[in-house]
Symmetry: C2
Subunit: 377 residues, 2 copies
């Protein structure tokens, strides 16, 4: 059979305050188009369908529409698991009905040992889990890490192997050896909680979610992260996002990459403020692109974020790549003491990328007056 | 056909801090037993399945288990709508799949005009809606009230009537003439937003949710509130909760009431403190029953809540039915000023029904010391 492997949709995620749902809907349309063009027999989504355990109503509506469209309208069988960003309970509501149209959603550890067979392949759907869940499931106090749990789980899965079929694992964890980008939760990454790739050798293919860059596992022909469909952080700016297409009728299975084209890209621009603000200076950026700015200047610039946004409306990050060329003595300390409100406003805007509202200015002024009164007393 | 009408399950509701899920699971088992004993062909749930738009994970698990059990295991067709306490979007996730086993869940106004036909009956499932939604749906700026919206909706439904069938409306609103108890949200109750019962005459039966007492509509043989399966407030203490069984093969349809027996009752006790604390004094109350106390005493009693709980562990309310027989002069004002911590503790416990934790006592002491220091300065 032939299936598509994607993961880490993170529906409802915001990028520095920008709603990504329109971008996510565009990426979904591209994934669907690839599935149709490549005539796949199933679509695999390896966890983190939502960005939060409590997704917003617009996020629920967006994901529901995608699942209804892909499974009920386009008739693709779906194989999906919950990731660490999903609430298994909330995402799993309704799963008993989903199988009526070959939508196999698994959110409980125990379900990992009930493979789904489609054509020539047995799929093992292992949702994200904590070691404590495996400890309870196997009733074995010695299980302390994901690594230890996986040893037991893989052995238990192998007992269910039908020797006449191919075997695919769908899972959501950190596989050892991976290089990780910084847009996924790092808490679980590394050390004892990493699963060594060798342990996954019994499977013909392992469809992973969790890390957002497919480059996280580069040298494993049949253990793959699909990566996220969108760039979620500047460390992914240079990535090519996409999905994998897997053909199981060969041994080893054949795996090809199909790229997604970002509707609005995430771009890092490194230059001086003067160049960046110069409209004659051309950058390969559209007004809707998300821009991270690496400023090369060595002098302080006032209102820098607000001014950059007149040129690049969706600036999401501002970094200084060179140290400021001033000593504390050179800073106008008197000025600093005399105008704390302006300073506060600049600081607030640098941090939040929004100017203070009028109400916030009133509050700030009141707080300052109270503080000054105390200082005078 | 023969169907069961229930509503206002409010899964996840807490009663003065007490988790009701075990009580709700017991009530569900009774409803299921009635459905089986009465051999109904379908079960109608007229809104407010959850207590909150964002139900907790235990609430999602509890309701999911009930729906899976009733529909997938016991094979009862289900007809359900969202109420004002539900998030239509969250509850509705998966609804496209539910119909595969005759679970008809409707959460969008437009779906009210797509009747579900089961045997001899057309069911119109009208979820809770705001006038603005009807205004948009009919593209008619003149629609300002639920009343006006219902006039249009009933007319539109009548156009869909199959004359060879019975016609049942499932809805969640305040029907005019009802007496309401105080455990549902009162915001929408009354005045322009009430639907006159006369307007519902075209239907053979109207299965309503929203008000928690079946007595809210007593004189309408075929327009009924089922009421909630549990008592949610002291105003419902004397009620008999239950469900309706409707037979459509007669005209008018026949309607019979089937009572539910509360696992732990909600009881109002009105007596003096001395009598209430006297263990020789028998009250028809189990230790698990929820007890609202109407104290007849006219003198102040210290630590009253804590002491009552030694006798009735689940006191949920404390009211004084007589005015205190003291004047401000008689109160020991000096004592009040000298021991604010004790006073605070008593007050906190009366309001929250929990004593201050040690940490809270530390915070309170620190705050008091700071306040006293200020007063001294």
């Amino acid at each position: 059979m032939r299936f598509l492997h994607t993961a880490d949709w993170h529906i409802g995620k915001k990028l520095h305050g920008y709603d990504l749902i329109p971008e996510q809907e565009d990426a979904y349309q591209q994934i669907k188009a690839i599935a149709k063009r490549e005539k796949v027999d199933a679509v695999v989504i390896a966890g983190d369908l939502y960005d939060r355990a409590l997704p917003s109503e617009p996020a629920v509506t967006a994901l529901t529409n995608m699942l209804v469209d892909l499974n009920r309208k386009e008739k693709f069988p779906l194989l999906a698991i919950s990731g660490n960003h999903d609430s298994g309970v909330r995402l799993g509501y309704g799963q008993e009905w989903f199988a009526s149209t070959d939508f196999f959603l698994r959110t409980r550890l125990a379900d990992a040992l009930k493979p789904v067979t489609l054509q020539d392949t047995q799929f093992f759907l292992l949702p994200y889990f904590e070691p404590v869940q495996a400890r309870q499931f196997f009733d074995d106090e010695s299980i302390r890490t994901v690594n230890q749990a996986m040893e037991r789980l893989v052995a238990a899965m192998q007992e269910k192997f039908d020797a006449t079929k191919k075997h695919v694992l769908i899972a959501h964890f950190f596989a050892a050896g991976s290089n990780h980008s910084d847009s996924e939760t790092l808490v679980q990454v590394g050390g004892l909680n990493a699963v060594p790739v060798d342990m996954l050798a019994p499977f013909d293919y392992v469809a992973l979610g969790h890390l957002h860059r497919k480059e996280a596992l580069q040298n494993e022909p049949t253990v793959k992260y699909s990566g996220s469909p969108l760039k979620f952080s500047t460390s992914e700016a240079a990535d090519t996002k996409g999905v994998w297409i897997i053909d199981t009728d060969q041994t080893p299975v054949s795996v090809t990459f199909e790229p997604l084209k970002p509707w609005h890209d995430l771009v890092v621009l490194e230059d001086s403020f003067t160049n960046l603000m110069d409209r004659d200076h051309a950058y390969a950026v559209t007004p809707e692109d998300f821009v991270a700015v690496n400023l090369t200047d060595t002098t302080p610039i006032t209102n820098v974020m607000q001014r950059l946004k007149t040129r690049f409306p969706r600036v999401i990050e501002l970094n200084r790549v060179n140290q400021l060329d001033v000593t504390p003595d050179e800073l106008d300390v008197k000025q600093v003491q005399q105008d704390p409100l302006t300073l506060l406003g600049d600081f607030f805007e640098q941090v939040t990328q929004h100017p203070l509202t009028e109400q916030q200015q009133v509050w700030a002024r009141q707080a300052l007056q109270a503080a000054e009164k105390e200082a005078d007393e």
